[in-house]
């Protein structure tokens, strides 16, 4: 589609949508959100880019094939389970690392977060694989 308005708006929206997808993913541990919904939003962002600039441009922007994203996502999810095995606990037991940031703020890193990042990547990869396959027809 060749529309100046859509192209200009997309360049702005793409960043916001991707940032929002990260926000949704990180929020998902205790509140509505999570890797699945975050991944859908990110996939929607790339889809918007593909509509505005064509799917070849979207593929070039991604740099990595969507199928490989699925693979990396699955690897991250499986790896999050193995972290517990290293501690001698059952597969998939949650592991936490709390980083003090000073001033009372702390950053909680955990294996569920890694799992959620994996889900995020799998969802983005799956949706984009389907989308690009349809575009190629």
């Amino acid at each position: 589609m060749n529309s100046l308005i859509l192209r200009s708006a997309t360049q702005l929206l793409l960043t916001i949508l991707l940032l929002f997808s990260f926000f949704l993913m990180l929020r998902g541990h205790d509140l509505p959100g999570g890797g699945f919904i975050g991944g859908l939003v990110a996939a929607a962002a790339v889809a918007l880019y593909a509509i505005a600039f064509g799917y070849r441009a979207a593929q070039a922007m991604l740099r990595i094939s969507p199928r490989a994203l699925v693979g990396w996502g699955l690897l991250a999810a499986v790896a999050s389970g193995f972290l517990a095995l290293l501690q001698g606990q059952a597969f998939l037991t949650g592991q936490w690392w709390i980083v003090e940031l000073g001033g009372g703020a702390e950053l909680k890193l955990s294996s569920p977060l890694l799992f959620d990042i994996g889900v995020y990547l799998v969802v983005v990869g799956t949706i984009l694989t389907m989308l690009f396959a349809l575009e190629e027809r």
């Binding site: 094939s65 199928r67 490989a68 699925v70 693979g71 990396w72 699955l74 690897l75 999810a77 499986v78 389970g81 193995f82 517990a84 095995l85 606990q89 059952a90 597969f91 998939l92 037991t93 949650g94």
Partner: protein
Amino acid sequence: MSWLVGAPVILPLAVAALLFVLQGRREAQRVISTASTALLVTLSAILLYRVSEGGILVAQFGEWRAPFGISFVADHLSAIMVVITGVMAVATAVYALRDIDPDREALGYHPLFQVLLAGINGAFLTGDLFNMYVWFEVLLIASFVLLTLGNRREQLEGGIKYVAVNLVSSLVFLGAIGLVYGVTGTLNMADLAIRLPQAPGGLVSVIAMLFMVAFGIKAALFPLFFWLPASYHTPPQAIAAIFAGMLTKVGVYALIRVFTLLFVHDVAYTHTILLWIAGFTMVTGVLGAAAQNDFRKILSFHIISQIGYMIMGLALYTPLALLGAVFYIVHHIIVKANLFLVAGIVRRYAGSFDLDRLGGLYRRAPFLSVLFLVPAFSLAGFPPLSGFWAKLVVVLAAADVGAWPIVAVALVVGLLTIYSMTKIWQAAFWSPLPDGVELAPRPSGLLYAPVIGLALLTLAIGFWSGPFLAVAEAAATELMDPTAYVRAVLGDAAAATIGRTP
């Protein structure tokens, strides 16, 4: 030790993820996929050894305690099934190196094969009904894609029948799970073994029937088998072989699990229905096979008739009968997958699966003919091959309880199986080559390796059946008395409440 219980599922999942990342690097995928199946069978064998030495092993994922978390339980039956999955994985992975074309590999054959293995092993090991549903879906999706990979017309036709019928089965399964949860408030199978006997008997019977339908479709029981011969002759042989060996057996396993652990409140009712179904399954399968003239379709119908024998063992519900059912499953997986692999080699020679266009293979490939005869005779039940012992045990078990009609059915079906096998032998190997058909040169030796391996295994089970029968007996003993299963998952106090009414 808990990681070992999960290993047969986690390993293929991790390998699948790795293979997705390596998509496009064909050689690396082939090496990793094949090597991982060798590791899989090793880990599974260690698991079976540990179970037979130290009893049932349980893992609680995420350290959430049963019955709240998801349990993985490896008793003898589960461990045996996982080992045989590993054997099949090695055999079909090696065969696939020469059988799957580069196009299918580029489309993702290798990672999907690993996902399929993870789904099968997950269904065998889980101790939670809903988790079992999830693994059924995993293996259904993976098998659907494997079935239609390559996009040929007949593949899509078979694939749609396959997936439509199996989704109906999933729906019934899910509905039954919902009812179980509504009645008991739990889905952990060990917990259910305690709580279901306390629920109203009529309601539990209804739920049992729903499970029978859901798993009956998966296991291709009469009258729900029609999807199987409509789809199994379409994919490449390496894929058809693991389907023929494993997928229906996941359904049989699920039937054995729920009709020994959960639904034993009214054996006279539920298991009698199973016995009738077993008889009809045997007869329709073998008659369907007799009407076919395509190598693979004959084999597909014979899967159905042989499933009948396994369900017969379950339906009789005695220790000897269950021993026979477990032994039958192991024997049949090896033999049936091997016959599909042989059919693939025959096609390389003659370019067809149609019996009218085959012939002269005995003169041209005597070794292949012997490799066909071992599993074919074993399937038909010739002594002293593995099929003879399997049939003997279930028939003896039926005679023990005086179920003479089913004994007669089993014996007649055995005779008709010999008819089908001699038909293939006659048409493909013994008769002269039809006019206008040229035999190709001998195909790659790598295709023979898994066939030889599985044939040797068939012979081993036949001549040294003792150890195999002993393991099957241990499985049957555990199935007849679920106390050990419940104790392993929930502890001593819970196990003591089995069979007690509130």
